[in-house]
């Protein structure tokens, strides 16, 4: 009888375990998609921001605000449309 009990417990472990694994990976997938979207939009490979030695000279405060607004809009859009 103790054994039957253990079996039930182990099945519960399986449910919890597989659930957490899937949950975790699913969240990671979403995050990866989001980061890919953002990075490729705002740091296109041709001029990767983090290694850029010369930031584009035309960028002004106005540009910057527009850019931030665009990012916020993009994230919203992405969250709605994520497949």
């Amino acid at each position: 009888m103790a054994e039957v009990n253990l079996l039930a417990e182990s099945v519960k472990f399986m449910l919890l375990g597989m659930g957490v694994v899937y949950l975790f990976l699913y969240i990671v997938i979403l995050a990866v998609k989001l980061q890919a979207y953002l990075i490729n939009k705002y740091f296109p490979e041709t001029t990767p921001a983090s290694t850029a030695k010369k930031p584009a000279p035309s960028r002004t405060d106005e540009d910057e605000k527009a850019r931030i607004a665009a990012i916020v809009a993009a994230v919203n859009e992405f969250c709605k449309n994520k497949s």
Partner: protein
């Protein structure tokens, strides 16, 4: 030459001086020291025959033949943990273990089965079964190594760091949904947990054994050490043996679960992944594991550390060292330390048979679950997914991905699945670490 002569004369002059000073100035301490030494080293005269006889008593032949000599087991935790060996353990058991070690040598060298770890483990097993030498004891070479990095789980983490520095997450980032295949394959862990309970292991032991299904050496050693240290040797040997046997175990299962048409599915070219994506990814994974499952952070943290250092591109010295000198040194030590658990008194127990059976079950179940999940995803996905790549979800990096590629090529020449299989393959490593974290959190 003259200078040399001068120096040598000086040397001897100094010695002579020293001697005089000592002889005159402070005879007491010197005499005392000698006295102490002679006190310590009492030696009873023995006839030549007695000497030969007492030598015979220290031979390995006598130790193996005389099963009533009361030899103790070797325990890295020290003398308190020792117990007298049984007659079987101190004689036939040792011989059996040494033959098993030779079999592992054969598999590693002639068959090329994961030699980088099987060879050190097997050699550790050979040394651990030497009578009287107590090499696996607290003061023996293996015991020192065990206490240095296995008892405290340090070495598996260092290995994971190096593996992280060798891993390229590009294929996973290019096609992130294949991570789900690395999740499905964790059924190898949790399914075999149920199996292990069925054949009589308790829950904690069953959990330790089932981690073999993660197909990931350091994770297995880390968890086994936490949940069932007595079974460490068998679990590690099973994990590495079955990882080595992946090319034998997986293909029949993969073929049984897929149609020829499915195996022939070609997958598109992967998109190029941005350098920043690779850089940010290990941190993203680590942050989620912090939020959801802190118990998995030693493993995922070490892995992310290695990967982050590599992708940062600014600490190549350190990343190279992690991938070479450090991981090689630790691999030698890890293997030897794990091998110390192949002592007959620890390995030749009934549980070992069960561990071997469950381990095989775990690999098979993981493979099957991965393939089935891939079939399901193929049904619902816009782009075609070859179900074979699900088999790579068990990890066993990069062996399983290569097997997928080979089976794909057999079904249709030119059907190169390698990079597509690498995604589930590395996701399987993360998945196993998460599964390990769940098991640890249950028994905390």
């Amino acid at each position: 030459m003259r200078i040399k002569q001068l120096l040598i004369s000086l040397f001897f002059a100094l010695f002579a001086l020293t001697t005089m000073v000592q002889a005159s100035g402070n005879p007491a301490p010197s005499g005392e020291a000698t006295e102490q030494s002679s006190e310590e080293h009492v030696y009873k005269s023995k006839s030549m025959a007695e000497l030969a006889n007492s030598f015979w008593k220290t031979t390995g032949i006598n130790a193996i033949l005389d099963t009533k000599d009361g030899e103790m087991t070797s325990e890295p935790a020290g003398h308190d943990a020792e117990r007298p060996m049984t007659a079987f353990e101190s004689s036939l058991g040792r011989i059996i273990m040494i033959l098993i070690v030779f079999l592992l040598f054969y598999l590693a060298i002639a068959k090329g089965f994961e030699p980088l770890l099987l060879l050190p483990i097997a050699f550790g097993g050979l040394l651990a079964n030497i009578p009287l030498a107590h090499m696996a004891g607290e003061h023996g070479m293996l015991g020192i190594i065990y206490n240095m990095g296995i008892a405290n789980e340090f070495f598996p983490l260092l290995i994971f760091m190096g593996v992280g520095a060798m891993t390229d997450f590009g294929p996973l980032l290019a096609n992130p949904k294949t991570a789900l295949l690395g999740g499905a394959a964790q059924f190898g862990i949790f399914g075999s947990l149920v199996g292990a309970v069925l054949i009589g292991f308790d829950l904690q032991q069953a959990s330790a054994i089932s981690i073999i299904g993660g197909a990931d050496g350091p994770t297995s050693i880390f968890i086994a050490n936490r949940l069932a240290p007595d079974m460490l040797g068998a679990i590690a040997v099973a994990a590495y043996s079955y990882m080595a046997l992946v090319p034998v175990i997986q293909p029949p299962i993969m073929k049984a679960l897929t149609t020829k048409e499915e195996r022939q599915i070609k997958m598109g070219v992967q998109r190029k992944v941005h350098r920043l994506e690779k850089l940010v990814f290990p941190i993203v994974v680590l942050v989620f594991s912090i939020l959801i499952l802190p118990e998995s952070t030693p493993l995922i943290g070490a892995f992310a550390l290695g990967n982050f250092f590599k992708e940062s591109g600014v600490v190549d010295r350190l990343s190279d060292t992690m991938q070479n000198a450090l991981i090689n040194i630790v691999t030698i030590f890890l293997g030897l330390g794990v091998g110390s658990k192949l002592a007959a008194d620890k390995f030749l127990v009934l549980e070992t048979m069960g561990i071997m059976v469950i381990g095989l079950l775990a690999f098979s179940a993981g493979t099957a679950a991965g393939v089935i999940m891939a079939k399901i995803m193929n049904k619902f996905s816009k782009e075609p997914i070859n179900p074979l790549i699900g088999a790579a979800g068990v990890s066993a990096v990069p062996m399983a991905a290569r097997v997928v590629n080979k089976v794909g090529m057999d079904a249709k020449p030119g059907n190169i699945l390698l990079m597509h299989a690498m995604g589930p393959n590395v996701a399987g490593v993360i998945g196993s670490a998460v599964a390990a974290g769940v098991l640890l959190s249950i028994f905390k």
